[in-house]
Amino acid sequence: MATRLTLADVERIAALAHLELTASEAERFAQQLGDILTYFDQLQHIDTTGVPATTNPVTSVPVMREDTLRPSMPRDEALANAPDPGGHGLFRVPKVLG
C-alpha cells in the first residue's frame, strides 16, 4: 500500500525537525518521502514476533567509569566558533521571550 504524505504532514514533520522548508521543498519532499516510506512497507511482512531489538550491534553491557575531575575546555576556546559570542563570555541568541 502506497504511503502518501500530504503537504500538512510534511510541514508537521518539518516543524518537529526545526526546518523551515520553502514551498517547493515541501512539495518535493512530500513526493520523495512518500516513495521512501512505501519502500519501507516491505519490512511489515517480516515476522518479528518475540525478536529482540538490536540497539548496540556488538555488546549491550553498560560501561562504568570513575567520576573523576578533569579540566574543562577554556571558555574562550569554547566560544571561538560561536556565530555571535556577544562579547560577555556567553553565546548570544535572538530574543526568546516576547
Binding site: I36, L43, N56, A82, D84
Partner: protein, 501 residues
C-alpha cells in the same frame, strides 16, 4: 615486490631509513596535491605549512627511523567529518562553514602520537550521507579512473586521494558502506572495522550505532598498519571495545590454511551488473585455486538490509543533527526582520545550512521516531536488524568469512543518480549489512570491468576478527595483481627522493 606506481608506507619508511627526511616526503605529496587536486577535488583543505611543520617535528624526534613508529613521517589524508584541532572540519556542510575544532578526535591524537603527517582534509557527502561525494557544499569529487564518474561516497575524497597517489593512506568513516564502496569504485583497499574497534570520539556523529572510522590504503599491508595505529579502547567513547588489538601486520604473511568462504549466491542473483558478476566469479576462482573451499550461505534477511538501514540511520541522524542550531558553532542564518525570534533563527539556519539529502534524512528519521510511527518503523527495523545478525552468526558456524561484490555496479556517471534517492540507496545492498550487524568488512581490488574500471571484492568477518579478513585479502592480493596499476590521472611525480647518503 610492489610496482613503482605503488608507494606504500613501507617504501616511504625505507627511503627515510636511507636518509630521506619527513619534510622531503611531505613536500612530494603536497606538490602532487597542488598539481592534481583540481580537477579531482579530493581535498577541501590542504594543510601546507602546518603539514611541513609537523613533518619537521618528526625529523627532529627521530621517530622516522624508529621501527616502533611505522607511520612516523608518513603523509595521511583525513575525511572532513573527523575533528582536527586547529584545522577546518566541516563535514562538507554549509552549516559548519568556518568551524575549526578546539580538540582532536581520538584517532587523530593517536596518529599524531604515531608521527603521521596530516596533509589535508578530504571531501565527502555532507555529514557522510550519500554514496557519490556529490552532496558536498564544495562540489563533487571526481573518480581518478574517469573524471566523468563519481568516486563513490561518502568518503570519496579520501578514496580518490589515495587512488590518485596524492596521499599514501587516508581515514574515512563507514556508516553504510562509506569506506568500502568508494574503495571499490577507486580500486583501492578500504576497511570498516568491527563496531567498537575504533573510537568514535571526535567523529561528527551521523548514526551512532553504525558509524566506524577506518583505513584506506593501496595495499592490505598498509591498511593493517593504519588500523593498528587507531584501534583500541578509549575512555572518551563508551562504545569502544576493550577487546585486545592483535598484531595485524605480524600475521599477514601467514595465509589462513584451507579457509572456508561463504557466498550468498541467492542474494547475488538480482541487480548485479554482468561485468561485476564476471569479475566476482573470477575472484572466487582465484580463492579456490589458493585452496579455499567455497560454500553457499543463505542470508535470508539480507534482502531487507537496505530498507532496515534507511529507517535506522536517518532516525539516529535526526537526533544527532539536532545539535546544529546556529548557536554554538558554524553557520547562523540572519534573523529575518519579519520574525526575529529564536525558533525562526533555528529553523532558517537549518533549512539554509543543510543540503537536500541531509534534510531528507532528518525528515525521514523524525517521521520514523514520531508518535504513532515509532513501533511500526524504528522498533520493527531494529528487530529485523537482529534477524540479519542471526543469519551471519549461523553462517559463521561453518565459514571463516563471507565474500560478495562490494557494489552491484562499477562507478557510475556524475549526476546519474542524484535525482533519485531510492535508486541511490539500492546501490548499498552489499555494504549496509556489516554496519547493521557491527561486523568487520573489507573491500580489496577484485578485478576490472572491460572498460578498465575497478571492481571491489568484499570480505565480511566475525566480530573483532579483522585479522582473518586482512590475511585473506593479503593472500588474494598477491595472486590478483590488478591493484598494482595506477589510474590514468594518478600523479607519480615528483617521486620519493633518492637517499642522500
Amino acid at each position: 615486490m610492489p610496482a613503482p606506481d605503488v608507494q606504500t608506507t613501507a617504501d616511504i619508511r625505507a627511503a627515510m631509513a636511507d636518509g630521506v627526511t619527513a619534510v622531503e616526503i611531505c613536500s612530494v605529496y603536497l606538490d602532487r596535491i597542488a598539481a592534481q587536486n583540481d580537477p579531482i577535488h579530493a581535498f577541501t583543505h590542504i594543510a601546507g605549512e602546518q603539514a611541513l611543520e609537523d613533518a619537521a617535528a618528526v625529523d627532529a624526534s627521530g621517530q622516522g627511523r624508529d621501527t616502533a613508529f611505522p607511520l612516523a613521517g608518513v603523509p595521511i589524508a583525513i575525511k572532513d567529518n573527523i575533528s582536527t584541532r586547529g584545522m577546518p572540519t566541516t563535514a562538507s556542510s554549509r552549516i559548519l562553514a568556518g568551524f575549526v575544532p578546539p580538540y582532536d578526535a581520538t584517532v587523530i591524537e593517536r596518529l599524531r602520537a604515531a608521527g603521521a603527517v596530516i596533509v589535508g582534509k578530504t571531501n565527502c557527502d555532507e555529514f557522510a550521507m550519500g554514496s557519490t561525494t556529490e552532496h558536498s557544499v564544495s562540489g563533487p569529487t571526481r573518480n581518478p579512473w574517469d573524471l566523468a564518474r563519481v568516486p563513490g561516497g561518502s568518503s570519496g575524497g579520501s578514496a580518490a586521494a589515495v587512488a590518485a597517489r596524492l596521499s599514501p593512506i587516508a581515514l574515512g568513516s563507514d556508516t553504510g558502506g562509506s569506506i568500502r564502496q568508494p574503495a571499490a569504485f577507486c580500486g583501492i583497499v578500504g576497511l570498516k572495522p568491527t563496531y567498537g574497534r575504533v573510537s568514535r570520539y571526535g567523529l561528527l556523529a551521523f548514526a551512532s550505532s553504525l558509524d566506524q572510522i577506518g583505513p584506506f590504503a593501496l595495499t592490505v599491508a598498509d591498511a593493517a598498519v593504519l588500523l593498528a595505529a587507531i584501534a583500541g579502547p578509549d575512555p572518551a567513547d563508551a562504545t569502544s571495545s576493550a577487546e585486545p588489538v592483535p598484531p595485524f601486520s605480524a600475521s599477514l604473511g601467514e595465509p589462513v590454511a584451507h579457509p572456508t568462504i561463504g557466498v550468498p549466491w541467492k542474494l547475488l542473483e538480482d541487480g548485479v551488473d554482468a561485468d561485476v558478476s564476471t569479475a566476482f566469479t573470477t575472484a572466487i576462482d582465484v580463492l579456490r585455486t589458493q585452496g579455499a573451499t567455497i560454500v553457499d550461505v543463505p542470508l535470508p534477511h539480507a534482502i531487507y538490509a537496505v530498507p532496515t538501514y534507511y529507517v535506522v540511520a536517518p532516525a539516529e541522524a535526526s537526533s544527532n543533527l539536532a545539535r546544529y542550531d546556529g548557536v554554538r558553532f558554524g553557520f547562523r542564518a540572519p534573523a529575518g526582520a519579519d520574525r526575529p525570534d529564536l525558533d525562526t533563527m533555528y529553523n532558517r539556519t537549518r533549512d539554509t545550512g543543510f543540503g537536500d539529502e541531509v534534510k531528507r534524512r532528518i525528515m525521514l528519521g523524525t517521521y520514523a521516531l514520531s508518535a504513532g510511527y515509532y513501533d511500526a518503523y524504528y522498533v520493527k527495523a531494529q528487530q529485523v536488524r537482529t534477524l540479519i545478525r542471526r543469519d551471519y552468526d549461523t553462517a559463521f558456524e561453518r565459514v571463516d568469512a563471507v565474500a560478495m561484490p562490494t557494489t552491484p555496479t562499477v562507478a557510475f556517471g556524475l549526476g546519474e543518480r542524484s535525482a533519485d534517492p531510492l535508486r541511490m540507496y539500492a546501490g548499498d545492498v552489499f555494504t549496509v549489512s556489516a554496519n547493521l550487524t557491527g561486523l568487520p568488512a573489507l573491500s580489496v581490488p577484485g578485478g576490472r570491468d572491460p572498460s578498465g574500471l575497478p571492481v571491489g571484492l568484499q570480505f565480511v568477518g566475525r566480530a573483532f576478527d579483522e585479522a582473518t579478513l586482512l590475511r585473506l585479502a593479503a593472500n588474494y592480493e598477491r595472486d590478483a595483481p590488478c591493484w598494482r596499476e595506477a589510474p590514468p590521472t594518478a600523479v607519480l611525480a615528483p617521486s620519493i627522493p633518492a637517499p642522500t647518503r
